[in-house]
């Protein structure tokens, strides 16, 4: 799965997520990438979030919307909200989860419960950052 979230110079947020799904899936299987609130969600007032990992788990945990909800209703930082979404219902819904998220001020989070989280970011004219491993 691949995804992106962005804040533009006009203060607008957006998200896009795309995937080939899981290996050996049945025909017609739908994953989280095309599900609003599952793999993708964006609202200018709160955040934009894109998810990756085990699609069934991400859909059932409504991970992208969880980031939104934790921001909007609990007033958590984007980092804490992403951490919360990765952990939500983790006792019952076990699997890989990764989330990128950004808030209207341009604060962002890259969070996962995996050892690989292929990701990159760039803030304004600052140097770009690219990583494959979560520890990077």
């Amino acid at each position: 799965t691949v995804g992106a979230v962005a804040l533009d110079q006009h203060g607008n947020l957006a998200v896009a997520t795309s995937t080939g799904g899981i290996e050996g899936k049945l025909r017609g299987r739908v994953g989280d990438s095309c599900i609003y609130g599952g793999g993708s969600y964006a609202n200018n007032e709160v955040c934009a979030a894109s998810c990756t990992g085990d699609g069934e788990i991400i859909m059932l945990a409504a991970c992208a919307h969880e980031v939104y909800a934790l921001r909007k209703y609990k007033k958590l930082s984007i980092a804490k909200a992403a951490q919360g979404a990765v952990a939500v219902h983790a006792d019952k819904l076990q699997g890989d989860r990764g989330i990128i998220a950004i808030d209207p001020e341009g604060n962002f989070a890259i969070e996962s419960n995996t050892n690989v989280m292929r990701c990159a970011y760039r803030v304004g004219d600052d140097e770009p950052f690219v990583a494959i491993w979560k520890e990077d």
């Binding site: 950004i102 690989v116 760039r122």
Partner: protein, 169 residues
């Protein structure tokens, strides 16, 4: 004009570090850099977040190292079925597609659904019909299949045959 930021991901997984040799790690980083730049360049010249995320994701869909577009995982039947969505934080409008087998850039079709369709989510045949109606060129299914994914699929099929030897059709 205000701050601008783009963040991208190319998938998260728990895996044995030895499964990603240094040359593949370098190629993945190069792919991420290209996708990041595609989106960042739009933001840098004052473009929209929506255009930026679409461009970044299209870059990764075109790169067979990532599980989206070309290089997507095989179904049990040996096909590649893709899906994508976009959402605009300003308008709360969105577009989503699934069950695609012939569309080169699913995220672009999702964007067209958002902007040109009265619905918000199209699947399978309907999504392909909409793609054709919007003038998108469809790809031969072989475009999406890579040798690496084909080998992984063969491994799965062989494992399934070992586990269920009497279940051949």
């Amino acid at each position: 004009m205000g701050k601008y930021v783009i963040v991208i991901h190319g998938g998260a997984v728990t895996t044995d570090p030895s499964s990603i040799p240094p040359e593949k790690e370098a190629a993945l980083k190069k792919g991420l850099e290209a996708a990041l730049h595609a989106g960042w360049e739009i933001l840098n010249r004052g473009g929209t977040a929506l255009d930026a995320v679409e461009a970044a994701v299209m870059s990764m869909e075109d790169n067979e190292l990532f599980n989206a577009g070309r290089g997507g995982m095989f179904t049990l039947n040996g096909e590649v079925e893709t899906e994508a969505s976009v959402m605009d934080g300003l308008t709360l409008r969105g577009g989503a597609v699934s069950g695609l087998k012939l569309v080169k850039n699913p995220v672009h079709l999702a964007r067209l659904v958002m902007e040109k369709c009265k619905h918000t989510f199209l699947t399978a045949e309907g999504a392909h019909e909409f793609a054709l109606a919007q003038g998108l060129m469809l790809q031969d299914p072989s475009y999406f299949k890579t040798d690496e994914q084909r080998q992984e699929w063969l491994d799965i099929i062989q494992e399934a045959e070992v586990e269920h030897p009497n279940k051949h059709d």
